[in-house]
């Protein structure tokens, strides 16, 4: 790890001011990803600004019926918060599907959004990686790419976004509140993470120096018909091969509103308005779910070792939509998939 200057920020304005003075600085909150990457020299900040004293640790109701989650709310506190458990159980479930309890106790809401990919070439500084070193090439495209993306990929990068929490936030249409030197702005969740294109080094649409202050949840929480189904190589404490967050609103057997987002398949949590349109007004049955899956996966592309993900994603979508329609969400303790 290279040496760095350590500084503590006292409030949001102070954090933004300290960051603006130093383009190679990084904020640290939980540190679970940043410190890991600093140890292997993938992240090399010359200054680390500790934001843990900022007053961003509350989950509070907001006008209009939504919730505002402070950026420093720890993942475990979020998952166990009564308002989240009651009104947004798909978010609680997704958070509990990720990492371990130790990591969830440390990791922050804002930091979860800013996680870097777990592509092993990104971690291995001896190999080319366009995300780590722009222009050096992608080792995964013709390498070991079993964990990699099948949607929205390009010639520059086929990495996936690793978060579970963000898959649920995408489905819920959360908003990201950020502050920078030029003021505050709000970013729709679908616009927050980006596809790799020619600049895979950029994971998000945050401007340099901006800080996440909160994540806002809209009133609609899909607390009756939801699920978070995550398929991985072991039963717990592993990144997703494919995961699906679902929220449905049913009128009898008819789908009034249906949303689903996928994790483990793209550079960002993957939602598709066309696939969701294939649910709306249709009967909540296997045929409908299979059609929606076909639409979402129409442009899916497998690489040498991950083509299995296309079929796995299709089956996961159908299963997850069925779980949500039945009102029997996936348990994150009992691993039995019903």
């Amino acid at each position: 790890m290279i040496n760095f200057q350590y500084a503590r920020a006292s409030d949001v304005a102070d954090a933004v001011r300290q960051m603006a003075n130093d383009p190679t600085a990084k904020f640290v909150a939980g540190g679970t990803n940043l410190i890991d990457l600093m140890k292997i020299d993938v992240e090399r900040p010359t200054k680390v600004i500790d934001i843990n004293r900022l007053p961003l640790k509350q989950v509070e109701g907001i006008q209009g019926g939504g919730l505002r989650i402070g950026a420093l709310v720890r993942n475990s506190d979020l998952a166990y918060h009564p308002l989240i458990e009651q009104r947004y159980p798909v978010l609680a479930s997704a958070v509990m599907a990720g990492a371990s309890q130790q990591l969830r106790n440390m990791a922050s809401t804002g930091g979860n959004l800013l996680q870097r990919t777990r592509c092993h070439y990104f971690y291995d500084t001896a190999t080319p990686c366009n995300k780590r070193e722009p222009g050096s090439g992608c080792s995964a495209i013709n390498g070991h790419n079993r964990m990699h993306a099948i949607l929205g990929t390009g010639d520059a990068c086929i990495a996936t976004h690793p978060s579970d929490m963000c898959v649920a936030l995408a489905m819920l249409e959360a908003k990201v509140h950020v502050t920078g030197a030029s003021g505050d702005r709000v970013i729709a969740f679908a616009d927050f993470h980006r596809l790799p294109g020619d600049t895979p080094q950029r994971d998000t649409t945050l401007n340099p120096g901006e800080i996440i202050t909160a994540v806002e949840l809209p009133p609609r929480g899909f607390a009756t018909n939801y699920t978070y189904l995550k398929i991985r190589d072991r039963l717990s404490y592993a990144f997703a091969l494919v995961s699906v967050a679902v929220g449905l609103e049913l009128d009898g057997d008819t789908i009034k509103e249906g949303r689903f987002a996928l994790g483990g398949v793209a550079h960002k949590p993957w939602r598709d308005p066309q696939a969701e349109a294939a649910l709306r007004g249709q009967p909540a049955n296997a045929a409908t779910f299979a059609r929606a899956a076909e639409v979402l996966l129409r442009d899916a592309r497998g690489y040498e070792h991950n083509t299995f993900k296309i079929d796995l994603a299709r089956r996961c979508i159908v299963r997850a939509l069925s779980q949500a329609a039945r009102g029997t969400p996936q348990s994150q303790s009992s691993k039995k998939i019903m």
Binding site: M1, N3, F4, Q5, Y6, V28, G31, T32, I35, D36, K39, V48, D50, N52, S76, Y80, A99, S100, Q101, Q102, L103, N105, M106, L235, S236, Y237, Q332, S333, S334
Partner: protein, 203 residues
């Protein structure tokens, strides 16, 4: 429980223990780059120019420290304070051997810079036992033979202490899920779950 330091110091000095040899080797990176003479001082006073002040209460003892900001809580415990009960396994948050309690909550000490926890209360495996009596989890791990090599055990026990304090796990299934951040390469999981269940019933 054996106190490692007492144990080591009671041996004849002509026969250094493995830990003393390892500790001697581990001192090298800590003191590198320091002015001559600094190596003989306690690491606590061996301040680098960028040293950061941090106050921590560890197992009930207050420590006022000047640290290189890069020092993880794990390395502070093991290399600076000789609290070697907390183990370094993967050093990247994947194994749980380094689990300690920070303000009562379990965390991976390898993924924290110690300076981030100014003012915090840290409890390590050395601090769980109260006034000479084993912690119920320590006794339960013995009762159920919940280890083989024992390397993951301090992390397992600290993690289980956090788990019990959280009060979320009721069933064996839930214990397994919420203990999944602690890997046991010997595969003693069945007995670890049984030990935690015993301690939970008695807590």
């Amino acid at each position: 429980m054996t106190d490692d330091r007492t144990d080591a110091s009671s041996r004849p000095s002509s026969h250094p223990t493995r830990r003393e040899i390892i500790a001697g080797g581990a001192m090298v990176p800590i003191t590198m780059g320091l002015p001559s003479g600094a190596a003989a001082q306690s690491p606590r006073s061996a301040a680098t120019p960028d040293a950061v002040e941090v106050n921590l209460t560890i197992n009930g003892t207050r420590h006022a420290l000047m640290l290189d900001a890069r020092t993880t809580l794990l390395d502070l415990l093991r290399e600076h304070l000789d609290l070697t009960g907390t183990k370094k396994g993967c050093d990247q948050g994947q194994c749980g051997a380094c689990t300690v309690l920070i303000d009562g909550r379990r965390a991976n000490s390898c993924l924290t810079f110690a300076v981030m926890y100014d003012g915090a209360q840290i409890t390590t495996i050395e601090g769980l036992a109260a006034s000479g009596a084993l912690h119920p989890l320590q006794q339960a791990f013995i009762d159920h033979d919940a280890f083989q090599c024992g390397y993951c055990t301090p992390g397992q026990i600290c993690s289980a202490a956090g788990l019990i304090a959280e009060g979320r796990a009721k069933t064996a299934e839930e214990i397994r899920e919420l203990m999944s951040g602690n890997i046991c390469r010997c595969g003693a999981y069945t007995n670890i779950v049984a030990a935690i269940q015993q301690a939970m019933e008695r807590s």
